[in-house]
Each structure stands twice: as C-alpha cells, then as structure tokens.
Symmetry: C2
Subunit: 210 residues, 2 copies
C-alpha cells in the first residue's frame, strides 16, 4: 500500500491527520504539485486525474478523494470512530464535512488557484493544464470565505465540534482549510471566540502535526 501525498497541500493533510488519529501508518510517496510532478506521466499513470491524495492498494486498486480514502480506513479499522457510529451520526459527519468542503474549501481553492502567479497561465484548476486564471473567481472565493467564518462561529458556539459532540473528519476538514487560509493571509478573525477556541483545541491534538 502507498499513499501519494504532499506535505504542504490541505487535502493530503486531511488523510494524514485521520490516519494519525487511528494510529495507522502507511508508506508515503511525496509528489510536488508546485513543481508539476502530479501532471507528469509517472503520476498520471497511477491517477489520471492528477490529484492528491491518492491511495494505491497492493493489488493496484487506486482510491482518490480524501473522504473516500478515509472511508476505506474507517471501514477497515472502525476504532476510534471518525465518521460517526449510528446512521444519523454518519449522515451528520458526512453533511458537515461537505459543508466545510463546498462552503469553505472550494471558495478557498478558487481564490488560491485563480490568483497564485505560478498557476495563473494554465493551472487554475487542480490536476489540469490549459485552464487560465479567472481573477473575478478569486475575488468571489475570498468573499465567500469571509461569509463562511461567521457561520462556523455560530455553529461552534452551539457545539464543541463541527458535527456535534465528538471530534470527527469534519473537524479535520475545517482545520486543514483554516490553516491553508491562514497561510494565504486569510486567518480566522480574532473576534470569533468559539472558532478560535475550537482551533486551539484541535491544533493541540498530536495528530495536527501529521
């Protein structure tokens, strides 16, 4: 088994934190997206979508998409549960995870990919070449991300963790998005106290450095 990974990218980090919480070790292969290694024939031969993270099983089966890779390990080793236990919990972890992805992760990626100079000419969409940046989409992404922060502040005022009373893969998604946003100069506003309390708590878990 091999996990194709990139140290600095937010989605691969989701899987690393998830595995650290489970105590599972998987051999990693570092692929440098900034240098375009994900778009070279070697990696496209493994995953034609050119996306990280990608898990390759020993029989050659390829699983990509962070949540699908996490699902595989959750099913193989249910303890400690990171994606809910009852049907309602499983559905709530999944819908909160997707809310983090669609309402924060995608706008952030729109902002980053459509403004970062090295990607402007033809790498505005992850895993692809030939698509140029749309500056107005970068602006829309930043505006949507700014609108998202107070929404999650309210949520974390009513619930210890994103999907309810327990730490879950929805928290991991939000942590990786938040820290990537901070690196892009979009930190959590300091006056959002619940969001800041949550960030300090999840960042203090040993898995956060994975």
């Amino acid at each position: 088994m091999k996990l194709y990974d990139m140290r600095l990218a937010p989605n691969p980090r989701r899987v690393r934190i998830f595995l650290a919480e489970k105590g599972i070790e998987v051999p990693r292969v570092e692929v440098d997206i900034r240098a375009g290694e994900n778009l070279q024939p070697d990696f496209l031969g493994v995953n034609p979508r050119g996306l990280l993270p990608t898990l390759q099983l020993d029989d050659g089966t390829v699983i990509d998409e962070s949540t699908a890779i996490c699902r595989y390990f959750e099913e193989m080793q249910p303890e400690p549960p990171m994606m809910g236990v009852t049907p309602v919990e499983k559905a709530l972890v999944e819908c909160w995870t997707r809310r983090m992805e669609f309402d924060a992760g995608l706008p952030l990626m729109d902002a980053f990919r459509n403004s970062y100079p090295a990607y402007a000419a033809e790498r505005a969409v992850p895993g692809r070449t030939g698509l140029r940046a749309i500056p107005e989409l970068a602006e829309r992404g930043l505006s949507r991300l700014a609108d998202f922060y107070p929404v999650i502040e309210r949520r974390l005022g009513e619930s210890d963790y994103v999907a309810g009373a327990h730490f879950s893969s929805a928290d991991i998604a939000l942590l990786c998005i938040t820290d990537f946003a901070r690196a892009l100069k979009m930190p959590i506003p300091e006056d959002l106290e619940h969001f800041s309390r949550w960030h300090a708590a999840v960042s203090a878990r040993p898995s956060a450095s994975a």
Copy 2:
C-alpha cells in the same frame, strides 16, 4: 420525516432515484428554486444554506447534501446496497461518486449558474444571493464537461457501471448530471458508444422516473 425536494433539479433527483431503488417512501415538500423559494425565510429556517435536497427527521435533525441523505438511508436499510458492501467497494463508490460530482457536476453547475439569464445578476452560486455571473467561468465549465465525456467513455468501456460491476450511487450521480446537461443542450455525444449503452441501461430502470 420530510424531504425538501425540487422536481427539475439534478441533486434532489439523485435522492429520489436512490430511495426508489431501496423501495423507501418519504413525504416530499416541493420547493421552487427558480422562483427563489429556497431563499425565503420559511425554507432558510429549515436549512440556512438554502440548498436542496434537505431531509428533516421527526426530531428536527436536518441533513443536507445528497450523499449524506443517501448515507442515512443506506445505513438504516442496507438492502439493496447502493454504496458498496466491502471496505474497498465503499471507498470506490465514494471516490467515483465524487469524481462525477467534481469533474462533471460542478463544471456543469458553473456553466449553468453563470449563464442562465434569471440567475446572472445575483444568483450565480446556489443557495446564495448577491453574487453575479462570471461568463468566463461558464465557458470553463462547458470546456471541462466536454473533456469529461471521453474519460467516462473509457471507464464505461472497461466496466458495466461507473464504480464497477454493480449499479451504485455513482451511476445515479452521473445519470442526473447527464440528463441535466442534455436539458442544457450538452447531450452525450452519440459516437460515445459505451457511455450511450450505459445511459440507455440506467434510464430503463424503473427508478429513473422517480
């Protein structure tokens, strides 16, 4: 239990087909997105994201996102399985479903929301107001969708269904995207024989009319 639904929208249709395959009936409440009913206080009181489909349980719990709603019913009633049985099958159904969503569904929604006249002024993002259309994003969406069709043609040349040998929620996602694209004058190119064979087969299932 109530399912907030819209007859003509592709994501609500995914849940209706899924329920039909399972033989589960849920009372439906029709919400007219085109008329903006999803952005009115009544519906925002149920789901502040303003998105369909949305499931409300009898205790008031709200689950949105098509795959999360389907996950709830899959866990409550596993037969017939629509999201895989073994860990690898579950991961493959999830990653193929997301490939359909991210490589075809999102580009299609970008194309639609950023070109449809009624949404151009301030409804370019589902569930939101105040965000205007970006015409260049509509073009990018159409171009990405055109690139996706040969990819799925190759996949359906090696596999009866999207995620493998069995009909699954990944097929439902692709069917709903495909039929919505056809309504927007982006039909499956006729020379893609595997894709066309697949479309005829899944369209012939009784669930397709749900």
